[in-house]
């Protein structure tokens, strides 16, 4: 499977010369063991992120999208078993000693967490925290680090940064806190930024500001950006490429316009059809029937088949691999034969009133 993806990627490489993958994840699996019980939260993620590319990872809560990226950085708890391959600039990260991982974390790969209030230390000034991030990876004096903190706050468009550096997180508003977190993340000019639901905890009006700050930084610094989210709107507006994750696997991966115009996996179709639309008035909002399977109690065959309106006998028996369907990927047996996508048509279909045959 990895060879397949690589060949597909090489097409893109030819198009834009410098687009060699910055981060390359192959067959990443994360298992947890608890009291003799074992289950897998991530069951094989394949993903490439090129330099300067924005990749959206979409999936519902518990789909393994965050755990997968945390595992790539070696940030899982002690009872987690991580297998597979994560290459960063050609360097294998899985199984790398903690000492060397620390040199990469925060310096080459930075991470932004969901809740900006809880991801800042409440008893340290914002400036001190940014300065700490700088000093973790650069040999500079305290004074130089503070000067850099001011500069970074300015970079993320926080007004009066000289005054703000000496304030504590509780004196910042939610949006400003997330900007401070972003400032910390880019303090060491990383190559890759992983943003784990960066706007979920924020006010809708602030979300757009934060995303535009992220995007402008990404463009200015040429970062690779992984945007983990469950908001398809965020992905549609900001990502170059999208990976859709369902119960621990990438089920579809495509360029953002391709994905929204013609989703080739029933789960993606369901997700897109459930976006509320102001133009078409519907009596009821579409929702995917059923609920995601509990970890460790996956159905046989394709994990999505109990909720899939296209499911056939084959889906119950065989878990489809991620097929290459012309520069994009889908883990559905009927990836190429699914009918054309109309969200309105899909909205009227459900498991009860009869499936739409592929």
């Amino acid at each position: 499977m990895s060879a397949q993806i690589y060949s597909a990627q090489s097409g893109a490489v030819d198009k834009a010369g410098e687009r060699a993958p910055l981060l390359s994840i192959r067959g990443l699996r994360v298992g947890f063991r608890r009291a003799g019980d074992q289950f897998e939260a991530v069951r094989g993620i394949d993903l490439d992120v090129a330099k300067g590319e924005v990749v959206g990872i979409v999936g519902e809560s518990g789909s393994g999208k965050s755990v997968g990226m945390l595992a790539a950085l070696g940030l899982t708890s002690k009872n987690a078993v991580v297998t597979g391959s994560v290459r960063f600039n050609g360097d294998e990260l899985v199984g790398k000693p903690a000492r060397e991982m620390r040199k990469i974390r925060g310096a080459r790969i930075a991470m932004i967490f969901q809740d900006p209030l809880s991801s800042l230390n409440p008893v340290m000034t914002v400036g001190a925290q940014i300065a700490e991030a700088v000093r973790l990876h650069q040999r500079v004096t305290r004074k130089q680090a503070m000067a850099r903190a001011v500069e970074l706050l300015h970079l993320v468009a926080i007004p009066q940064p000289e005054r703000r550096v000496n304030q504590y997180p509780h004196e910042f508003s939610g949006g400003m806190r997330q900007r401070a977190v972003i400032a910390m993340a880019v303090a060491n000019d990383p190559d890759l930024l992983i943003a784990d639901e960066p706007t979920t905890a924020l006010d809708v009006t602030v979300q757009a500001q934060i995303l535009s700050v992220l995007r402008s930084l990404q463009e200015r610094l040429g970062l690779g950006l992984v945007l983990i989210t469950h908001d398809l709107g965020v992905v549609a507006g900001h990502a170059d490429r999208v990976a859709v994750v369902y119960s621990g696997r990438v089920v579809e991966q495509a360029g953002v316009s391709e994905l929204f115009a013609d989703p080739r996996h029933p789960y993606t179709r369901g997700l897109i059809a459930s976006i509320p639309n102001l133009e078409e008035s519907r009596e009821r909002l579409f929702s995917i029937d059923g609920s995601p399977p509990a970890l460790g109690r996956l159905p046989g065959g394709c994990a999505f088949h109990p909720r899939c309106i296209y499911a056939e006998a084959r889906c119950r028996a065989e878990d489809p691999p991620l097929h290459d369907i012309g520069g994009r990927f889908s883990a559905c047996h009927f990836a190429t034969t699914l009918p054309p996508f109309h969200s309105a048509v899909l909205a009227t279909a459900s498991l009860d009133n009869g499936s739409v045959a592929p």
């Binding site: 620390r102 930075a110 991470m111 967490f113 409440p122």
Partner: protein, 280 residues
């Protein structure tokens, strides 16, 4: 109780400034003053026979005289210099040792953490007085040895508190963010976890100051702490217990211990109201 006092006050008094906190602070300040300046305030030498023995309270000797004719008030006030520094020393040492071991146990976990906590369990399974007696007896009498014994008895309390606190704080997202930023474990513990763990330890330590004064007095009472003729409250009460009908001999040191324990408890309560947002 805080609500009642604040309502009765005018709006100028801050809400955290409660009557118990003020009373406790005044009492403790009084005893701290005596610790340092008893020589200047008290007119009688606590070790000299200044009057006839076993005199009841009078204008000359407010709390009477003891079996050797020493002034009980003078001895009581001088006693602070023996009890308070010991209490502070014991609590500070116990906090340092206990917090350190507790923090390591909570942060590192695994076999090291379990070993530390089993040691804590074993120590706490003895009645504190009994363990302190055993240790003090094996080290020999004297306030210094009593202090060592009390530290050995007291550190596990802080180890448990600290461990629980570290276990809670280390799951917070800013700790994960610090690790994701590439911080070393030691740095994570020292700058991102410990500064958020002090509140319960500080409150508990304040209250324990009173308890340690009481324990020190208890050890002296049974002859394992201060040696005569030191004006130590425990040994003074022990003298008073022999002369049962001369109540004033034990009265002075008894009131001293009572007020100190109450004072520290009041301050501890007040601190909790100020520092711990969860308590009402």
């Amino acid at each position: 109780m805080s609500a009642v006092t604040t309502k009765s006050h005018s709006a100028a008094v801050p809400e955290w400034l409660t009557a118990p906190l003020v009373i406790g602070t005044v009492v403790i300040l009084f005893w701290l003053f005596m610790t340092v300046f008893a020589n200047l305030v008290v007119q009688f030498d606590p070790l000299e026979m200044v009057a006839r023995r076993l005199q009841p309270p009078s204008w000359a000797h407010w709390l009477g005289t003891d079996a050797l004719g020493r002034d009980v008030l003078a001895r009581t006030l001088h006693g602070a210099a023996h009890s308070l520094p010991i209490a502070v020393l014991v609590v500070v040492s116990a906090v340092i040792i206990g917090s350190l071991l507790g923090a390591i146990s909570g942060f590192v976990g695994g076999l090291t953490g379990a070993a530390i906590m089993r040691l804590v369990d074993v120590t706490l399974s003895f009645p504190p007085m009994l363990l302190a007696m055993a240790v003090a007896a094996s080290l020999g009498p004297g306030l210094g040895n009593a202090a060592i014994a009390m530290v050995l008895v007291w550190w596990p309390v802080y180890a448990r508190l600290m461990r629980a606190q570290v276990l809670e704080v280390k799951e917070r997202e800013h700790v994960e963010a610090a690790i994701a930023a590439g911080a070393r474990p030691r740095r994570v513990l020292l700058t991102h976890i410990l500064p958020l763990c002090w509140t319960p330890v500080l409150i508990s330590a304040t209250m324990d100051l009173g308890q340690v004064v009481l324990l020190a007095a208890s050890l002296s009472f049974i002859g394992l702490g201060a040696t005569p003729p030191t004006p130590e409250w425990g040994s003074m009460i022990s003298d008073g217990a022999v002369h049962f009908y001369q109540w004033w001999i034990a009265f002075g040191p008894g009131v001293a211990i009572l007020t100190i324990v109450l004072g520290f408890n009041f301050i501890g309560d007040g601190l909790r109201d100020i520092l711990d947002p969860r308590s009402d």
